[in-house]
């Protein structure tokens, strides 16, 4: 470093780290066990981007014993994910679309069609 002059102990450690990084991936970097992993993008359960057995078919190849209800994706795809699920525009035209659906797993039948008003 020619423009920045390290003054305290921590600054010297920062410089050492920058140097080590410049020489390639930092080797023997100790990572504590309790250190949380870097933030991953959110993949909803059953997302087609991740292999998640028990989502599309149960152990017999049918759909009777799925480990997650298929209705989950109504919310996981269009709220938590970038994937544009086909749902009514809840911001402008149908703000109460989910009002009667407290739990998708139980109340999904209450999600009705929306007709242009």
């Amino acid at each position: 470093m020619t423009h920045l002059k390290p003054i305290n102990q921590k600054a010297n450690r920062v410089v050492d780290h920058v140097k080590a990084e410049a020489e390639g991936p930092v080797k023997a970097d100790v990572v504590a066990l309790q250190q949380t992993t870097p933030q991953q993008p959110h993949f909803p359960l059953g997302c087609s981007l991740v292999f998640s057995p028990g989502w599309e078919a149960d152990s017999t190849g049918g759909t009777a014993g799925l480990c997650q209800p298929v209705e989950r994706d109504i919310f996981d795809c269009h709220i938590g994910c970038f994937w544009p699920a086909q749902v009514p525009d809840q911001l402008n035209h149908a703000p109460d679309w989910t009002a009667k659906c407290a739990s998708a797993q139980k109340d999904w039948r209450k999600l009705d069609l929306v007709f242009p008003g």
């Binding site: 020619t2 423009h3 920045l4 305290n8 921590k10 600054a11 309790q34 250190q35």
Partner: protein
Amino acid sequence: MITLSRREFHLFQAAGQDFLYLVPSAAIFALDQPSAAVLNVLGNASRSDDDIVAALAGRFDEVAARAAIRELVEVRAIGYEQRPDPVLPKMLPMAAFPLNTMVLNVTNQCNLACTYCYEYGEDKIVDTEHGKQSKFMSEATARESVEFLLKESGPSRIAHLTFFGGETLLNFPVLQATIAYARQRAAEVGKTIDFSLTTNATLLKPEIIEFLAENQVGVTISIDGPQELQNRFRVFHNGAGSYEVVAPKIKELLKRHRSRPIGARVTLTSDTLDITRIYRHLTEEMGFWEVGFAPVTTSPQQQYAIGEHGFDKMLGQFRALAHEFLENVAANKHHGFSNVKDTLEEIHKGVSKAYPCGAGLGLLGVSTDGDVALCHRFAGSDAHKFGTVRDGIDRETQRAFLEDHHVADKTDCQKCWARPLCSGGCYHEAHVRYGTTTRPNLHYCEWIRGWTDTCLQIYGELSERNPDFLARFDREEVKAEAVL
């Protein structure tokens, strides 16, 4: 377009130079002209590399400007907006963090009745008059506490035992017996215990002074300054001032006890805010080696509480005395303003705290009955209990405490550049002000930032004028008291 913008840092000037205090790493760099100019040109906007280089053309050539940008990016003073710094994980300390300092409240009784006292005044946490805790610690409990300290200090070779009160010397017999016992037990397990105490000096007498000197017990005297300031709050139960009683005893102590530097600890209130005068009196007239100041901990409605205006005044006075410290130290002369020296040491090491102090971690308080608490100020409080000296530290409570008090969870602190050193401030202060230890002390943020800025400037000045002084902090074994 890929653009650069500022990350978190605080700029300060010292010795005619620009310095950068990075947050949260707490690293300090001196800037040369091109790098200072880059930060200046960037301001609070976001601009591309080329844009910055173009703005600096005529003053610095392109090679220098680009190199300065690169270095600033490397130390994370600035960064590309499209490439945010990784989010710092909230790391809790290791499960069995070794206990470094145990503060033993050998009594909760006091022969003084200082009006502002957090232990007896209106803001007290524990009822020491009619509460369930004993008024004096028994020798048996003190011994159990020593065993607790030796065990919980884990792999550390040295542990610190501080005697506290109430007025510590009201229970001198137990203190005396405990030191003898602790010495013997520490030797048996191959450790060293360092002893210290805090006292109001009213009960000092030749035998006690002799004992403290012989046993190298570190002594801190609570005293507020010259006669009328000391007698304003530090009074006996009948209202009589204590200055006349303590002054000759302190002089006697300072004369005989030369094995450790002896410090004064001053409580500042709105009525006694005259720092330079207090400092002069305690060092030049009394002979203290060091003086440390702390604003009184109290709820804001108390008349003696230091209000917003008072904090400004206090900062001005702290700055004046800090400057005197700087001039002395630059000339290799001792100066006993301990608030500065302690902060300089933390700045030098680049401390970046997840918690404001060691309470609940490396420091614990023990009540007269042997209950272990967050710190001595909470000793005896059931709500802040961390176990007992007999059953050990309640690790679950400790973990929950550390989980709830991490600076990562103090939303207000996340935007403050002073958080590496402050981390939200004293738990006890927060408890008294806001009723909970989890809150950051927002009432003194401006004061903390002002004072931290002053200490950074002094650090910057000393890095130019007397780097040898700062280099002493590099040696692990050098404790603050041994420096100059």
